[in-house]
């Protein structure tokens, strides 16, 4: 690592050009993109929410459908930002050489990283919000407080974007992402309280789950979807912001190392 690689990021307004490029591509590919981000959570919501909900009844004082929907919107934000930060960034960096094209203009590597982070947050919102809307239609959402979950989707996106971009910076090929998904994304999805309260886990497992960000994301999103304000905000918000900031710093350092040779 050189001093230049380790220096603080210098984000500039030009980052929005990278963000805008991604938005325009997304707009062109909106149909398949919506289908994929939408499809899977929708199946969970219908299949588990109605199927399992019948047996489970209430969880944590709310209908199971509400419990599940609130977990799914948060995990959708996580998945979307993670996949965008890994697969899409890798595609643009390696296969399409898009970053090479950008680096022949006044844009610089720090603009690219900041732009991709901003975009991952946006993509998380674009993917999680429609599922929130479907949840409303299914009667799973209780109150307007749920609207406050939307800016949270952005933060959750930022929080998972950094680590994903770091993984992309180290990836020799797409296969590499399977490790990150299998070791972190999927376990978080299963264990962080999307499907059942984390209190049912053994003590040590709860500790691990609370070091990872998804449980904190759900701790904030779930009450809002259920129609109340989260009883505890500070610590959960702090964890998400910390992941976002540290992830951004690390993503900048490692993408610089990969691109500036």
């Amino acid at each position: 690592m050189t001093a230049a690689q380790l220096s603080l990021p210098r984000p500039r307004a030009s980052a929005f050009k990278v963000w805008f490029r991604n938005l325009m591509v997304w707009r062109k590919l909106i149909a398949p993109s919506l289908f994929f981000t939408f499809g899977e959570p929708f199946v969970y919501l219908l299949g588990l929410g109605f199927g399992l909900g019948r047996f489970v009844g209430e969880v944590n004082g709310m209908p199971y459908l509400t419990f599940l929907a609130s977990g799914l919107v948060a995990s959708t934000a996580m998945n979307t930002a993670s996949f965008e930060g890994m697969y899409s960034v890798f595609t643009r960096m390696v296969h399409q050489q898009t970053y090479d094209a950008l680096l022949a203009t006044p844009l610089q590597v720090d603009d690219i990283v900041a732009g991709e982070m901003l975009w991952c947050g946006t993509k998380a919102v674009l993917a999680a919000t429609p599922i929130l809307i479907v949840s409303v239609l299914l009667g799973a959402v209780d109150d307007w407080t749920a609207v406050l979950a939307i800016p949270l989707f952005y933060l959750i996106g930022l929080c998972f974007a950094g680590p994903a971009v770091v993984v992309a910076a180290f990836a020799p090929s797409y296969d590499f992402f399977n490790y990150y998904v299998a070791l972190l994304v999927t376990p978080m999805f299963i264990f962080s309280g999307v499907f059942y309260p984390i209190e049912t886990l053994p003590e040590f497992a709860q500790t691990i789950v609370q070091i990872l960000p998804l449980s904190h994301a759900i701790a904030l999103v779930r009450p809002l979807v259920a129609g109340e304000f989260p009883p505890v905000v500070g610590i959960h918000l702090a964890v998400l912001v910390a992941y976002a900031v540290v992830g951004y710093l690390a993503a900048t350092v490692f993408i610089r190392r990969r691109l500036i040779t």
């Binding site: 230049a4 090479d100 094209a101 040779t261």
Partner: protein, 306 residues
């Protein structure tokens, strides 16, 4: 002091990747206007040199000024005033031809509204007007390269950097691109191009340096280099080594270079050599005028082409 500002001025420019030296202390002085060539085989260090000039690759040692500005400090200003045609086309596959140009204009802070007419002009220049709304996947390799050229001109650059602009293209497209590059030269732009085709260098470049293993091993005007550094006549000869040896004995005024199965026979005086060849028999040969390939072979002992 040169009367005109130098577009690129490098001293001892060096790039090391770990313990491999890709560019080994080269000096460059590229005047404004005209076409300057970096000629060298694959792996010679051409792309690495361009990447340093564009501020995309940190300089290991040496000094570099581009458009009169110190690099790498002036990287953004230099890129603002320069156009790049990369070795690998990297236009956005998710956009159409016109959308690519529009988006690229944004990166240079050119507003999409002010740029419409310019995009039409550029599409016409590279003969892609009827392809404006085609998605990238419908373009041939030659069309993609022409789009890259149009894209490199979007910011009306003073300097245009082209990394192997015609590699892998068919002869018609190459010729069309050469014509366009000549037009750009005439309009007063400075072109800096790399190539491993000597015919391209001979046709386009007013000045060139020959690079091998990261070092400059020769420089000058293509014609003058051919005239001063190699004999005017070349005979490419194939045949038994013993027959070649007999030829060498009977014909004193020749110089012979052997690359694999092929012997290059150089001479100032064609007629006597031809009669020697006829009497030696057993040899097939082809006569051609000397070109930059021969200059390169003379300097390095190996061929330029792959």
């Amino acid at each position: 002091m040169p009367s005109k500002a130098q577009v690129v001025e490098a001293h001892g420019l060096t790039k090391r990747f770990g313990d491999r030296t890709a560019v080994d202390g080269i000096d460059l002085s590229i005047a404004q206007g005209g076409c300057f060539g970096l000629l060298g085989p694959n792996g010679a260090g051409k792309t690495t040199t361009l990447r340093m000039i564009m501020g995309q690759s940190p300089i290991t040692a040496g000094t570099l000024r581009v458009l009169g500005l110190d690099m790498p400090d002036a990287v953004r200003e230099v890129r603002r005033r320069t156009g790049v045609v990369p070795q690998m086309d990297n236009a956005d596959p998710d956009f159409t031809v016109a959308e690519n140009l529009k988006m690229y204009a944004r990166y240079f802070d050119l507003s999409p509204r002010s740029i419409g007419a310019r995009i039409d002009e550029l599409l016409e220049f590279v003969e892609l007007t009827d392809r404006a709304d085609s998605p990238l996947r419908e373009l041939s390799g030659g069309m993609k390269r022409r789009l890259s050229i149009a894209r490199s001109l979007i910011n009306d650059p003073e300097l245009i950097v082209l990394d192997e602009p015609t590699t892998g293209l068919d002869p018609q497209v190459r010729r069309m691109i050469w014509n366009r590059l000549r037009q750009l030269k005439t309009s007063g732009k400075t072109l800096l191009l790399t190539t491993h085709y000597m015919d391209e260098a001979e046709r386009l470049c007013d000045q060139l340096v020959v690079i091998d293993h990261g070092r400059i091993i020769g420089h000058g005007q293509p014609k003058e280099m051919i005239e001063t550094q190699v004999e005017p006549h070349v005979l490419e000869i194939q045949g038994e080594r013993t027959a070649i040896d007999r030829l060498l004995e009977s014909c004193p005024d020749i110089r012979l270079e052997t690359v694999g199965e092929l012997h290059y026979c150089y001479t100032h005086n064609l007629a006597p050599v031809l009669s020697c060849l006829e009497s030696a028999g057993q040899l097939t040969y082809m006569h051609r005028p000397a070109n930059l390939e021969d200059v390169f072979l003379r300097m390095t002992g190996h061929e330029l082409r792959d």
